[in-house]
């Protein structure tokens, strides 16, 4: 099969694909990057309640420039709105939601995901001077389900981010349930990654060729 036969999803395409799988009624936290844009693809009439670490429950669509409220930002400190039925809580209560198992889903970006569900998303080396942990470790272990959104391969060398084992420092061990990439949707199972969906035109073999970890047909 020729690589030209398929077109990888762009970042918004990954977000759109994730949005398809979120049912009404879920409480969901979206990490920074691709995940943040997932909410744009969930129609308002499908009531999904988005949570931000800084104490916002029920994030609405981004405001028009003229309607920006400097007191109201999301976890990426971008201006947001609150939808009807939302609520504000303080930081410890907000993380009680995340850490206490009350989020049906968290979607995080990552550098790498391993076939045992390990996730690495905060540093490229343990000695990295700049440590961007944020709330990822709390969300990764606390949410009922953790999905990851990321490109399947690194930009430069094309290395697989879907790995037998993570090479970067871990965010948490054994927590990822599913990965959405620009090429496929992979479930983490006791027997490793199972391919649940692929983009049109991509074959299993071509996907495997781009993937460090062994894949199973879903």
């Amino acid at each position: 099969m020729a690589d030209t036969e398929f077109k990888p999803l762009d970042r918004l395409g990954i977000a759109r694909r994730i949005a398809q799988d979120i049912p009404e009624g879920w409480f969901v936290n979206l990490g920074i990057g691709i995940p943040t844009t997932v909410s744009d693809f969930v129609p308002a009439e499908r009531e999904v309640i988005f949570h931000a670490e800084n104490g916002v429950i029920g994030i609405g669509p981004a405001p028009a420039e003229a309607d920006i409220n400097p007191w109201l930002v999301n976890a990426g400190v971008q201006p947001i709105t609150l939808r009807t039925g939302g609520a504000y809580v303080h930081h410890a209560d907000s993380f009680a939601i995340a850490r206490g198992g009350h989020l049906d889903l968290c979607v995080l970006g990552a550098f790498e995901v391993a076939e045992n569900g390990d996730i690495a998303n905060w540093a490229r080396s343990p000695s990295e001077p700049v440590k961007q942990v944020g709330g990822a470790m709390d969300l990764a272990v606390g949410a009922k389900r953790l999905w990851v959104a990321m490109e399947h391969n690194t930009k430069g060398s094309g290395e697989s981010r879907i790995r037998r084992t993570c090479s970067y420092p871990l965010t948490a061990k054994g927590v990822v349930l599913r990965v959405y990439t620009d090429l496929a949707v992979l479930d983490v199972t006791p027997d490793g990654f199972a391919v649940r969906d692929m983009i049109p035109g991509l074959t299993f073999e071509a996907l495997q060729a781009r993937t460090d970890a062994p894949l199973r047909r879903g």
Binding site: G58, Y88, G100, L103
Partner: protein
């Protein structure tokens, strides 16, 4: 559309299993009395009841205990003149006494994902006999574990269809933290309000912690 309202007490109480741990909110005020009656009617047996106090000679807790569907009670005190004290004396009720602040903190810990904590409360009393203690900063502390509920019975003044709640005056007490700490939080509310009628900065218990709401008018 998310709608957590249930039409009647039977649906409110449906599925409570024998052996369940029931968190019952209230400090006289804020006790969900209709739900307690509903629990008696529902008939689950061998329950563990977690509440502030063991009740008196009448009232909702006494009624519930008198049915002998409760095997164990976890609370901060038991009055000498009470159904609980008599059942305990007869060997028909197991009793775990927990200092009231530790009780509240253990319940909150369950809701917040805290797996254990150290407190000086009761560390140098007989309640610590045979239990794990350690000295932290020169202070003897007792290791306490979270109290998770299978079910929480919750009282509210107002509720909307997402399960956002307000509680009146001191009727708040254990209601917000018990809702957090249970898999299934069942609410009786005096008033039903539209989504958005509770201002987002004035929500006392966020809908993320609530599964079912029954309207019980005053």
């Amino acid at each position: 559309m998310i709608d957590k309202f249930v039409p009647n007490i039977q649906e409110a109480m449906a599925g409570i299993q024998d052996g369940a741990t029931i968190l019952l909110a209230g400090f006289k005020a804020g006790t969900p009395e209709r739900l307690v009656k509903g629990l008696i009617e529902q008939g689950a047996r061998n329950l563990t009841l977690v509440c502030n106090a063991g009740g008196g000679d009448d009232g909702p807790i006494a009624e519930l205990l008198a049915t002998e569907h409760v095997a164990k009670i976890v609370c901060s005190f038991v009055r000498p003149a009470s159904v609980a004290a008599r059942l305990y004396a007869q060997g028909k009720l197991e009793l775990e006494i927990v200092p009231q602040g530790t009780l509240a903190e253990r319940i909150r810990a369950a809701g917040a994902g805290v797996r254990g904590f150290y407190t000086p409360t009761a560390a140098d009393t007989v309640l610590a006999d045979g239990r794990e203690t350690r000295v932290i900063d020169g202070k003897l502390c007792l290791l306490e574990y979270p109290i998770h509920g299978d079910v929480a019975l919750i009282d509210a003044w107002q509720a909307d269809r997402w399960g956002n709640l307000t509680h009146r005056e001191s009727a708040r007490n254990f209601n917000p933290i018990m809702a957090m700490a249970a898999k299934l939080a069942i609410v009786q509310t005096n008033h039903v309000v539209n989504l958005g009628d509770i201002p987002p900065e004035h929500v006392h218990t966020a809908g993320v912690f609530v599964q079912r709401v029954l309207h019980v008018p005053l």
